[in-house]
């Protein structure tokens, strides 16, 4: 019998077709995820204006939102209390998420978080020195001290790890950063143990909180955050190449030393600004990149925006929960983040196959 050509449908798909099918699914997943995250962000935003120690409803909040200069109770609550902290939570969360994704990309280490560059330790030491020596005690005044402390620490770490090379070796970055962080934390603890009033003021700042911060704090750090975010997003193609290894990246034309320098600069701006505004918040930078990578895969052009969005949602949600759970008091963001985010993170770690760097 003469073999007939099989009908078109039953021909196995060509390898190219199979690959593009998988890629198509990935793209669709990423786009869908992005839309979902944006919707989630809007919902969380709405919840942040509505929920709080004083119960309000959406109907009361919406008119208040459209008239910023009204003076009735609801408007005051919305504009003086909830608007600053919502905006701050969004900006700090996005900054920390971006910084976390950046540092994990540069150090190729899934356990790295922005604090590894000594940023939160430097900020804490600067603040405690300000409290101890200068007697400063208002959050708005901590901002510049914290920024200065983070910058100095990051410069030392980057400098120590790039002596001898042109580009900062990831392993050196991690070790130098951890060494300096431990040293600075030890100095901070020594001062707080020696002087009880310093401990008293420091322990509240060190918890990490977006409440009780005037909007001036946000305006002060916003330029740094914007510049940092811009540099971060612009460097994503170079980071994709760096992920292949420094030699391959160099042969692809990426200026490795410059990319690392810009990356560390962006991380310092983002994480330093976030820490200066809200105090040291530790969980976001470490965990959010893992969560984002589970959806986007290792492509930095998608990973960074996702990390920023997820970070913003996470910090805002933690702030809302902190307001609601302990009525009439409040739990700070720094405390709630890990208590709420960690179980979710552990659940994810158990369920999905981990996407390694």
């Amino acid at each position: 019998m003469v073999p007939q050509a099989p009908p078109v449908d039953s021909r196995p798909p060509s390898p190219a077709g199979r690959a593009s099918g998988g890629l198509h699914r990935l793209r669709r997943r990423r786009l869908l995820g992005l839309i979902l995250l944006a919707a989630l962000l809007l919902a969380t935003l709405a919840a942040s204006f509505v929920l709080g120690a004083r119960p309000t409803s959406l109907g009361e909040v919406l008119p208040a939102l459209s008239t910023p200069s009204a003076t009735d109770d609801i408007s005051l609550v919305v504009w003086q209390l909830r608007f600053p902290r919502t905006l701050l939570a969004l900006c700090v969360g996005a900054a920390l998420g971006l910084a976390g994704a950046l540092i994990q990309g540069h150090t190729r280490n899934p356990l790295a978080d922005p604090g590894i560059l000594g940023i939160s330790a430097g900020a804490s030491l600067a603040v405690v020195l300000g409290i101890f020596i200068l007697g400063i005690s208002a959050p708005a005044e901590y901002v510049w001290l914290a920024l200065a402390g983070s910058a100095v620490a990051a410069v030392i770490v980057f400098g120590a790890s790039s002596i001898g090379h042109g580009a900062a070796n990831p392993m050196s970055l991690i070790l130098a950063g951890a060494a300096l962080s431990a040293f600075l934390t030890a100095m901070t603890t020594a001062i707080t143990l020696a002087d009880q009033s310093s401990l008293d003021k420091m322990r509240f700042w060190a918890t990490g909180s977006v409440a009780d911060r005037p909007l001036d704090v946000l305006w002060a750090v916003l330029p740094f955050l914007i510049v940092g975010a811009g540099i971060a997003l612009a460097s994503t193609p170079a980071m994709n190449a760096l992920a292949l290894g420094e030699d391959i990246a160099t042969s692809l034309g990426i200026p490795v030393a410059l990319t690392r320098l810009l990356g560390i600069f962006a991380i310092t701006l983002l994480a330093g600004g976030g820490t200066a505004a809200a105090g040291p918040i530790g969980f976001v930078g470490l965990v959010v990149p893992h969560l984002a990578r589970g959806i986007t895969g290792p492509d930095h052009r998608w990973l960074l925006p996702y990390a920023g969005l997820l970070g913003a949602i996470l910090v805002l949600a933690a702030d809302i929960i902190g307001r609601v759970v302990a009525r009439p008091g409040e739990l700070q963001v720094g405390i709630v983040l890990a208590l709420v985010g960690a179980p979710f993170f552990i659940f994810l770690v158990r369920r999905r196959k981990l996407v390694s760097l």
Partner: protein, 378 residues
């Protein structure tokens, strides 16, 4: 066959060869064979380990010798070996020996635990500090300190309270370790997943501790802060024996399992191909690390940073590819004893030793990193 022999390479010539068969100008691979046992002779490693042993012994002697009634190092050794006059024996053996011995075994245990964790995870950031065990112990102690002995309806049993913070810390640490293990278990233990779960639990417990510290009145908060930094003050023989027993058990267990460590460094698949029962040996090593960490936290509080920095220092001093076990233990001991001496004697007011270990160990590690970078580019 009964005397150990020093073999040159299989090529039979005097020309040194590298593992790939090319020729190296300076390095020869020498093997020490004794019957069926064999080991590679690494002179640099041996010399470094001996130097670390001497350093640890000197740190021990300095720590014992210095204080209100200072003794010189030769005097200390004289007393230790049976001589010395009555006053010296009183000072060394009655007053100071307990605390210094605790410092010695805690340093050894921390260095060893750090080396094991970092080797199994192949990641220098995966020290036992961040795995949550110290945090579990800390959270238990701080909660009891701040909220008293009935917490949310659960009353801490009197037997536990009798042991003081040590018993509470131990129980807290072991419960945390068990929780981390159970959460990370999914048809076996993958070190990466274990470390990530440990980080999650660590973050939660840090939140709890921060919450307690913020809620407490300032005196309790200061008290909690002091315990949280880790200190050898007031430690003596009662704390020494549990740590020593744990260390002895660990060493015996490691003697059986540590030779797998070299193969594990090659990666999971290569190790399995070489016949290593990967999950079993990794599990045993992590269990040892957990046990050592829990017992040290219960003895001296969470002395941070030693378990992270000692293996990294030892790795660079011994020029090995992975943290050497004995070297890390000795480095940990030397670091802790020196820091305790500095904290107790050199500083104008006594600071917890956990601060000094970071203050000394941090810059030293920084210096070593810079030195390594400079050499690599030369």
């Amino acid at each position: 066959m009964s005397t150990p022999t020093l073999d040159r390479n299989d090529s039979g010539t005097n020309a040194p060869t590298t593992a790939t068969g090319g020729t190296a100008v300076d390095r020869q691979i020498r093997a020490l064979r004794w019957g069926r046992l064999s080991a590679v002779l690494r002179p640099r490693h041996l010399i470094a380990a001996l130097a670390l042993l001497v350093a640890a012994a000197l740190a021990f002697a300095i720590n014992i010798g210095q204080g209100d009634y200072p003794l010189s190092i030769p005097q200390v050794f004289e007393v230790l070996f049976g001589g010395g006059n009555r006053l010296e024996r009183l000072v060394v053996l009655e007053w100071r020996m307990g605390r210094t011995m605790v410092g010695l075994v805690v340093g050894l245990a921390l260095g060893l635990a750090g080396a094991l964790t970092q080797s199994v995870s192949r990641n220098p950031l995966a020290s036992p500090d961040i795995l949550g065990i110290s945090q579990g112990a800390s959270a238990a102690v701080v909660t009891v300190l701040v909220m008293g002995t009935s917490v949310a309806g659960l009353t801490v049993p009197a037997a536990l309270l009798g042991g003081g913070t040590a018993a509470i810390a131990l129980v807290g640490g072991l419960i945390t370790a068990a929780v981390i293990y159970l959460l990370a278990w999914r048809r076996g233990i993958d070190p990466f997943r274990l470390v990530l779960v440990g980080i999650g639990i660590n973050a939660m417990l840090t939140s709890v501790i921060t919450f307690m510290i913020v809620r407490a009145d300032i005196n309790t908060a200061a008290q909690a802060k002091v315990w949280l930094t880790g200190s050898l003050a007031g430690q003596g023989w009662p704390q020494f024996w549990p740590v020593l027993i744990c260390l002895a058990v660990a060493v015996i267990a490691l003697a059986l399992v540590s030779y797998d460590l070299q193969a594990t460094q090659l990666g999971d698949d290569a190790a399995r191909a070489l016949g290593v029962r990967l999950r079993v040996s990794q599990g045993v090593m992590l269990l040892i690390a957990v046990g050592l960490t829990a017992i040290t936290v219960s003895a001296a509080g969470p002395i941070g940073f030693v378990a992270f920095v000692a293996p990294q220092l030892a790795l660079r001093l011994c020029r090995t590819a992975t943290p050497p076990l004995i070297g890390s233990a000795l480095t940990g001991a030397a670091l802790l004893l020196l820091s305790d001496w500095v904290a107790r004697v050199v500083l104008p007011w006594e600071l917890p030793v956990g601060i000094v270990t970071a203050a000394i160990g941090g810059p030293f590690l920084l210096h070593l990193v810079i030195q390594t970078n400079r050499k690599a580019s030369a």
